[in-house]
Symmetry: C2
Subunit: 140 residues, 2 copies
DNA sequence: CTTGACGTTGACGTAAACGTAAAGCACTAT
DNA sequence: ATAGTGCTTTACGTTTACGTCAACGTCAAG
């Protein structure tokens, strides 16, 4: 909208970094939301001076956060989950802990899977009844 | 725990009604939660004098509410959804409205279905990598 | 008739997830 | 030099979904 020619925009200079405005728009959230996630430790963008610089890693995390939200997880729990992906995994104890966590999460997700499937099924059944009613209204 | 013999408990006298304590325990929520749902118009138990009397209908609604919550829907939205099931459906306009709503909900739910499936898949992939790491630690 | 056990209505408190100014820096375009 | 655009922090406000007393009603048992 403003001049967009010939100037070195702070944007794709590096080709792989983004400003807060760019990620906010891309993921359809506000700056405030993005910063809030940072406050809670869900993302930690680089700082160039005072400004935040977002990398691919941050965007990956953001999409994980938003999916987690769509699934109804609280942000704190989302943090522990996506932190899992970046966990050390060096020692055996660590790996076994991580595998345990994975199992917990899967159990949870499978419950949600059933919930969604049930809800969709009920909706389908309900739609059928409505269409029946509609059909009866037609050929009176 | 207290005396449980020979007295007409307020419970299954009618065989099909429940007290707030009973439904609360059955669904593993507090009285406060149940009353909160009533305040928001999600359930509307019968009143016998000042006391609330819950019927099968209320329990059905409660389970729908709790599933909706597990799926991350806000209570207000849950209300409009489950109210849909009890909507009049008499006139054609009503039926078409309801069918439209059903479609909106289904779209939403199908998004969530994809989200859950993706999340489970990613978790599986991640577990595989962890097991690989663990295997490498084994036969050193 | 008093004591529980259970139920009721306020009403204030709280945690989560942001919204919404307010006020100030940094750059650069005119 | 100044205005504009974008980013920053600080901080109080708001909504949702209940938690947590407080204070009182009721009914059967001892």
């Amino acid at each position: 909208m403003t001049s967009d020619t010939s100037i070195a925009r702070p944007s794709s200079r590096t080709g792989e970094t983004w400003t807060i405005a760019q990620v906010a728009e891309e993921f359809d959230v506000t700056h405030r939301t993005v910063r809030h996630y940072e406050d809670l430790g869900l993302i930690s963008p680089e700082r160039r001076g005072t400004q935040r610089v977002y990398h691919r890693r941050d965007r990956t995390r953001l999409s994980l956060i938003l999916r987690g939200k769509r699934l109804g997880f609280p942000l704190e729990e989302i943090r522990t989950i996506i932190d899992l992906f970046d966990a050390p995994r060096g020692r055996r104890t660590q790996l076994e802990y991580v595998l345990g966590q994975i199992d917990e999460r899967r159990t949870d997700l499978e419950q949600r899977l059933r919930d969604v499937q049930d809800a969709i099924a009920e909706l389908g059944e309900f739609e059928r009844r409505c269409r029946d009613d509609l059909g009866r209204l037609d050929h009176v």
